[in-house]
Symmetry: D2
Subunit: 340 residues, 4 copies
């Protein structure tokens, strides 16, 4: 039992099997292999559009690489104050962009408030040589409080940002969980909303280490530059076929969404069960597989005694993350222990 | 049949099996898992010293990360003109160090000439504010012409460099092949020669994607900084256990050296066989698994017709790389075809 | 008449005369000249301490150079949301530090609120590899709303910052104005408060182009690194004597404070005169030579008709900046026009 | 008497006088002043073309800023092995470009050998993601051995470079001396030869601190980016009028060329006088105001005893630099002492 993070979970066996299958004889290096080509086609089908894609092995790498082709060194990236790119990547965006500035915006439940965005756009002119011009809006979907922006909420942010000439980056480390939550198509949650570059994560949802940077047609002309940055950052793996193989299995027959739905359902059961206990209440709406809940001291103590594996979050809540392999029995055990 | 590069070869099945074995339940993220700890212990045993180690998934990442904690942004790294860090990493060392300068040195067969080193040290003062001071000597072992520096050759370079206050980086993408070639211990080819940081590569010799940056005691105090740089560069994988597992199997019971010896032996057979043909001669001594040979037009044509898979090298030779899984039958076929 | 900025004002004739006097025959380059040495001695006397100093020609350069030896590339600099380093330097701190992150803090009248500082220190751990550790607190004195931190206010910020291990940078583009406002010694407003590095500006107060980066004893060991960064940034002027000559005249016989007092007095007269008009009120306390005032539409119109030269500030106020050469007659003219 | 460098010389009085004249009342900041506009017009006239220009206070800043808009972070700059940008700028080009690589080329007398250039272009492909593509050829005029490339020599380098798609940067720290040497027009030595960006230096030839980055029409569209980089590097001086004023006087009525001719004539007299002495011979042709000469031990000793002020150069010669204010009497004294 472990709710610390979906990165402590193992990989789904289908992905390991696909790596084994890809381990057959010689294959071209650096992404020119047939498995990589197949995944590219799968993604075009799933996203119903032309696109360019490259693979990495961490979400931090994907975000930083994507931002490095969207934002110039002397420009600014707008994001939520709690965004992973702001809080949890040790300055990777600043490093990869050559010094771009991140402007943290406020908003409840880790969702950027539209007012905060429009105020920032008003305060930071894009034609004043002394000021750092905003060039990118970065949105996390799921976000850092486990919430999914609805399509309307995305429109309310992306609309004004696009009008101001910004490009849109989506940190989709838990894109599949958000997709399962919203029940819409991948296209409807990305380029149809105005997203230019999507970082699509599989690692937190069943992969060993598989992340993708997807450039939609609006920025596909930057793909050559993106590949150069990938190489220069040491993220162009010689034997890329093994990363591609993970995506191949993950996307096949809807496995990615099955796993996301399972994780979300576990999150929901856990949230519902804990939120009914006296002195406990959800800190944020639970849209996906993450539960942020304020626990009574008694409940917190019981769950620690059980070894349930969760984090004390900076906002005072406890964070539980369900994964694709969380079982009902594990949740039952947690809820039983919580009740005392 | 494919001699284009050892990165086109598949992975050894033991490594895939170890990844499968590691895929058992939950494990701490970011390198805090038990497999990573076990590999650290294995390396201490094999290198007969205390050390710090972290894992990456590409040789470029390893080299650039190591150099970033050895060289300051306004300093200089000395390396051979043909070094991978100079020629084949798209400026990764410049990127990770924040702008350090690489000074290319000459020398036959991709070995830095001791004279070239001492001249560079004389020309570039370390106390003149206008000039960029040398801080690192980087040596590739095997080097880019497939040669292994002997221990004496290493001493002839590292001695003066250390005297001038430089730190020593070894690019060991094919360290195991060099070790098999020299027949000495890992310690004798690294820290006992004065190497401060070693990039130890497994990918070219049987792994899927597994590289290690090893800091020996002289620079172990920089490990915290190295980890921060690893995170900031997106190279701290959430599920690090799968990289560690590859190393675990690779180092177990001497597999790494068995594979290196096999690849070297294939290289030797190929070199010996081709070099006897009329109009063909080795461009560089063949110490490991790489063969650089000038082919007569007839032989070149026959091998292309066979689809042998080799590169036309910038120096006019043809490069063949044998891998851990190259078979005698494949080499026989090449030699037979070459003879016409 | 021009209240747009103290950078639109001419230089004091004494400084031009000193440059002429320095233009006598040959002199060593790059700051090794006797005038530079004399200024160093003057500063040691004035600040009552040992120190290291180098000269630049812009406040942005001084701030960025100072920060580059105080903050590592993967660290964080805390400053007010309206700080010049955050708002008006086009990302120079990010550029010079190699990608450090600026965390904007809130507080009324451009003064960092102590609560905002302690909250930031609590939220950003310095030992978590994923998060960017705070290493520097930057304080502007005068600040961007024309206010001077009192000594107690400085203590309330610097105390907790030092306790958390941060180093203290003071942006003193208008240090002399703040000094005149507080009526204390240079030492009492800098190193005796815990300031490690001071950017002392003369350009806004009578110089042509003369700024100094002063390292106090706590960080004097970084002077060699600072010089290297100065050279690398193109800020080590070949004929440095002409910048030093400006400082020499500026600091001589208290000229710098005389000029600051004159500018402050002009600011005070302007503030007092405008604030009594109906519908007009000061947006921020006027401690030095800058006046931020909300004008009634009638007054604003009259002053524009006069061509008084002021800026509409983002917060809705009008900014007037008095300089060392602002005359009483100019202020009388403004006040008379404002009254209609 | 001082032949150490033209940067140890004082400024021409006309330039100081022009600064005094510019010190009249208020003027717009950051280069929007009328003097700056007048210089821009002067340069358009002199260079017989449209152009963009900005001012800096050091040659290192000019070179690095110009290169930062010509070369991308993951590209390569070709220059002579002894070029100032390679040897004497503490890595400023790497810093400003965000990590571009400098490839040092060989050639006698600090002139890039055309063969070395074409070989480099052949060795470094521009479409191979692993290799760093050449984007800029940088030429020093005068070069670091005091030589002036003839127009034919410039064509022999710039032709192949342009054909390979490179942009051309000219380090003209001593452009005026080269112009006086060749006796051609500014246009014939710059954009008519294919130069895209020229760093025009006045500091070594009579200014206090005045350098210009000139973008010719081929790259004028990068001027906005150049200004942003200038600001971000702290090189956009608040009171830019004082730098512009220096250029204004320097370019007026051909003063710049008069000063260059005087310095060159002094260099020539010194070279001719010393070269006739037994055991002395010029190390490089003397085209401008710099003399590189191998001295007999006796002559060297006599000149040191005189305190003539010269440098022992790394190539074993002695470097004497004449300036605009070197007098015939000073040279007579040197020659007399040299003869013993």
């Amino acid at each position: 039992m472990n709710f610390l993070s979906d990165t402590t979970a193992p990989a789904h066996p289908d992905l390991l099997a696909a790596m084994g299958a890809a381990n057959d004889g010689f294959a071209p290096s650096y992404g020119a292999d047939p498995v990589s080509a197949r995944v590219r086609d799968r993604l075009k089908d799933l996203f119903e559009t032309d696109l360019e894609v490259l693979f990495t092995v961490s979400g931090t790498a994907s975000n930083a690489l994507a931002l490095s082709v969207l934002a110039e060194p002397d420009s600014m990236i707008l994001c939520h104050d709690e965004a992973h790119i702001q809080r949890d990547e040790r300055g990777a965006p600043e490093f990869f962009t050559g010094g771009a500035k991140l402007l943290p915006l406020h908003g409840a439940h880790a969702k950027i408030a539209p007012d905060a965005l429009t105020q920032a756009l008003a305060e930071w002119p894009d034609d004043f040589v002394h000021a750092t011009p905003p060039q990118v809006l970065s949105i996390s979907q799921l976000n850092e409080s486990g919430g999914a922006y609805t399509r309307d909420e995305l429109d309310a942010l992306i609309g004004p940002a696009k009008e101001a000439g910004l490009r849109i980056h989506m940190d989709g480390a838990r894109f599949s969980n958000a997709l399962a939550a919203l029940g819409c198509t991948p296209a409807e949650m990305s380029w149809k909303r105005g997203v230019d570059a999507l970082c699509l994560g599989a690692t937190k949802n069943g992969a060993l280490a598989a992340e993708a940077v997807i450039l939609f047609p609006t920025v596909m002309d930057r793909f050559g530059k993106l590949q150069a940055r990938q190489k220069r950052a040491g993220h162009m793996l010689p034997k890329m076929r093994y990363v591609a193989a993970q995506f191949d299995a993950w996307l096949k027959d809807g496995l990615w969404l099955d796993l996301a739905r399972a994780a979300n359902a576990s999150g929901r059961r856990l949230a519902d069960g804990l939120a009914t206990l006296p002195g406990c209440e959800l800190a944020h709406p639970c849209d996906g597989n993450e539960v942020f809940i304020r626990l009574s001291p008694e409940v917190a103590e019981r769950l620690q005694a059980l070894g349930a594996g969760f984090y004390a979050w900076p906002d005072g809540s406890a964070r539980f993350v369900a994964s694709w392999c969380t079982t009902d029995a594990e949740i039952d055990a947690v809820l039983k222990a919580a009740k005392g």
